[in-house]
């Protein structure tokens, strides 16, 4: 469960990036955050993976107030949140396998278990044949799927994605969306920030529209 109560966020002297946000995303929900560039989508996501803390207001993730978390608690919270970035944030000096395995290494899994689980997730995203490639040798769509695999490999409670289909063609978009849907079916709460309205319409899920740091529309699109 994600809860935001009267959340304000401002970057130093700039105008507020979030302006009194109240939001509730139940466990297992699938929601799109949308709005024009600068509306506050990425800032809201950053609050959810505790890259930022709000200037005012409360953000609760599974009942934990992020304002009150120690560094160690933030680390443990992040283990339950998978994040996919628009720029993928893959490590270019590591192989596909190593990029995905990093999430499980942090959790202290044994090598054998990591091997099995990483292979399984890469098969799920259709990249098991690229296991030894480095990200630079992959297409944009493939890189995005590696980033997704890294985010999903430990079965997170929450999956956050920032413009995950930004530079992808239709076929790859479809593939990525299907992976999101499958994760959601398995019980993961999915929050996707995008300005791609076609993607949202195609998916028929909850849509939260942000404008100048405020929620101007929150609608459940019929599935």
């Amino acid at each position: 469960m994600i809860q935001l109560h009267n959340v304000f966020m401002s970057y130093q002297s700039d105008a507020a990036a979030l302006n009194g946000i109240n939001l509730r995303i139940p466990r297992g929900d699938f929601a799109f955050l949308t709005g024009v560039s600068g509306a506050g989508k990425s800032t809201l996501l950053k609050l959810l993976y505790v890259e930022l803390v709000p200037s005012r207001g409360q953000v609760l993730i599974d009942g934990q107030n992020i304002n009150r978390l120690s560094r160690r608690q933030v680390a443990y919270l992040r283990r339950t949140v998978g994040v996919v970035f628009q720029d993928f944030k893959l490590l270019t000096s590591r192989t596909v396998f190593e990029n995905v395995a990093i999430t499980l290494e942090v959790l202290g899994w044994s090598k054998k278990d990591i091997g099995k689980k990483v292979y399984h997730i890469l098969k799920q995203v259709g990249l098991e044949h690229k296991i030894t490639s480095t990200p630079m040798r992959l297409s944009g769509g493939e890189q995005q799927r590696v980033a997704l695999a890294r985010a999903l490999v430990n079965d997170p409670k929450i999956l956050l994605a920032d413009e995950p289909t930004g530079n992808l063609d239709e076929e790859n978009k479809e593939h990525i969306l299907n992976i999101f849907k499958e994760a959601n079916i398995r019980g993961t709460t999915v929050v996707v920030a995008t300005h791609d309205r076609r993607l949202i319409e195609h998916c028929h899920r909850r849509m939260i529209v942000l404008e100048k740091g405020q929620i101007v529309e929150d609608s459940d699109v019929p599935q």
């Binding site: 680390a75 443990y76 490590l91 202290g108 079965d155």
Partner: protein
């Protein structure tokens, strides 16, 4: 809809201190393999830095050795009011030996004095015709301990000697001792200043190189943080990498120094007329070499630690 179970930890690996250390070391080695060029850059910088320090130490040790030799010339010679019996000589020797600062007391008999005189005037033996042992007095030559060879200490020692009844004249070349003390103080000051500046420069260069190499891997630090790694988990392999880089860099510096020494430095003293008493420059003692390696390890570790502080919140 099926619900996810909390993040699973099916089987933890490498529990306990030894297991964790082995795990972080293997990650550090893996990181070195994956970022080989950056590692080469760091090791190269540490090697050059420690080589400079080691060369400085080599020069320092040799100058120290040379001045040690020179300081042995600080000697006090005691003559007596009358010629002494063997029993009296022994009594004087033990009395002087018990004085604070005495290193060695040697009796120089009349015969020995004449022999030395003849040796000094070799080739001009005609001058010595008619000179017998009776002409020259016997004496006691006193070497002083290392810490008592500066002008003030020698003056204090001589004042102590004068209180012993039966001692006539005391010679100790006070002007030479004074100049030598001033020279030693100057050398100490120059050495400390040069060494200090050198150390600061080395720390500055190495820490900045490490900072740059860690900055080049900032993505890795960010990703580890985002997937839930604790600060210790992120830092540990980098610190072990720092230690390994420092160890390899400083060991290479010692190997290069040894190579340079064996190739041409060991007899440099001869053509530089630096320390003609010796056969050439002496090499760094084992303690100093261990210090260079330990210094490199500390440099690598602290360089990584301070750089990581900048990048990990």
């Amino acid at each position: 809809m099926s619900r996810n179970k909390p993040a699973k930890r099916p089987r933890l690996t490498n529990e306990g201190f030894v297991g964790r250390t082995a795990y972080f070391t293997s990650r550090a080695l893996n990181n070195i393999r994956q970022n080989f060029l950056l590692s080469v850059l760091t090791v190269g910088t540490i090697t050059i830095a420690m080589l400079i320090i080691a060369l400085f130490l080599l020069i320092f040790v040799n100058i120290k050795g040379a001045t040690e030799d020179w300081s042995k010339r600080v000697q006090v010679v005691v003559y007596f009011e009358k010629e002494l019996e063997t029993r009296e000589i022994t009594a004087f020797k033990s009395r002087i030996a018990s004085l604070n600062g005495t290193d060695k007391v040697t009796y120089v008999s009349k015969e020995e004095a004449v022999k030395r005189f003849r040796n000094r005037l070799k080739g001009q033996e005609a001058l010595l015709e008619g000179v017998s042992a009776e002409v020259l007095p016997s004496s006691l030559e006193i070497s002083l301990q290392r810490n008592n060879r500066d002008s003030d200490a020698v003056a204090a020692y001589v004042a102590g000697l004068k209180k012993i009844p039966g001692i006539g004249e005391i010679q100790y070349g006070d002007e030479w001792v004074r100049r030598f003390s001033a020279f030693m103080n100057f050398m100490r000051l120059v050495g400390a200043l040069l060494g200090g500046f050198l150390l600061l420069a080395v720390i500055f260069i190495v820490s900045n190189t490490i900072k740059l190499t860690i900055y080049a891997r900032k993505d890795e630090l960010d990703v580890l943080g985002l997937v839930g790694a604790t600060r210790f988990f992120i830092k540990a392999p980098f610190l072990i990498e720092g230690i390994l880089h420092g160890a390899v860099g400083s060991i290479l510096a010692v190997i290069i120094l040894t190579g340079c020494y064996l190739a041409f430095l060991h007899n440099a003293g001869n053509f530089l007329s630096f320390n003609p008493a010796d056969e050439g420059l002496s090499f760094l003692p084992a303690g100093y070499l261990a210090g260079v390696v330990l210094g490199g390890i500390i440099l690598g570790f602290l360089g990584s630690l301070t750089s990581l502080k900048r990048f990990i919140n």
